[in-house]
Amino acid sequence: MNHLGRGGGEGVRIRDHLANVRTFLAWFRTGLVLFAVGYAVAKFQVVESVPNQYFGVLTAAIGWLVIVVAGLGFLRQRRAIESPRFRPATSVNLVLSLLAAAAGMAVLVYLTRL
């Protein structure tokens, strides 16, 4: 019926594509939340006249980049699902975890110094 995909059958191919969309949306939401946190922090930094106001903007910029990565990863996996080989993402997830940990530490430092 359909010659696309990695040989798991049409049902597997459909579920792979739908799972890819959900993975993309999860990444997109993660970037959106990072952006929102950065935006809120930056706005409060303006109000509180914090000397170094780059932290909030930096966090928002990281969220922006995560959304870029989400779109690129979606297209990459979409091609992989239609081709015979699957390439699971690993380094991107590790980088995101490290960024999230760093952002959390920065918020802690920021809060305890005020």
């Binding site: 019926m1 359909n2 059958g9 049409e10 049902g11 597997v12 191919r13 459909i14 579920r15 594509h17 739908l18 799972a19 890819n20 969309v21 959900r22 993309f24 949306l25 999860a26 997109f28 939401r29 959106l32 939340v33 952006f35 929102a36 935006y39 809120a40 930056a42 706005k43 409060f44 930094q45 303006v46 109000v47 006249s49 106001q53 780059y54 909030g56 903007v57 928002a60 910029a61 969220g63 922006w64 959304i67 870029v68 989400a70 779109g71 979606f74 297209l75 979409r78 699902i81 239609e82």
Partner: protein, 136 residues
């Protein structure tokens, strides 16, 4: 004998269980879209109203913010509008994919994902530029 006109005889074959999983995956995908759209609308609302709130607060506190034009409103409203469009498009897509699963001719989409990324990135870039300029 009551039978759904679309459903084949309720056999516990492998094909039938795969079909169920495809429809459930389609449903989870719609829910993920709705969650994402709600997050987008929430961010848009915060962007549109938070700036106003902070202006009022800082004016009361005796430290009025710069009197430049407020760009947060239109950007926030466009993010909420993008969320509404995402709900409509993903719901249409859900029924489209539902038919495609039944017919065995599934076409993976790409436009909604690209569109939501581009719109959000444009709004985000505008907000970051606005923040960077107003925080100097």
């Amino acid at each position: 004998m009551t039978t759904d006109d679309k459903t084949p005889p309720a056999s516990k074959t492998g094909v039938e269980s795969t079909r169920a999983r495809e429809h459930l995956a389609n449903e989870r995908t719609l829910l993920a879209w709705i969650r994402t759209a709600i997050a987008l609308m929430g961010l848009g609302f915060v962007v549109a109203r938070f700036g106003l709130f902070l202006r009022e607060i800082s004016a009361i506190g005796g430290h009025p913010l710069g009197s430049g034009p407020a760009y947060s409103g239109p950007i926030g409203i466009s993010l909420v509008a993008a969320g509404v469009v995402a709900v409509v498009v993903s719901t249409i897509r859900f029924f489209q994919a539902r038919d495609q699963i039944e017919n065995g001719r599934f076409e993976p989409e790409v436009f909604p994902e690209i569109a939501i990324v581009v719109v959000t990135l444009l709004a985000g870039a505008a907000l970051i530029a606005y923040l960077a300029l107003s925080s100097r």
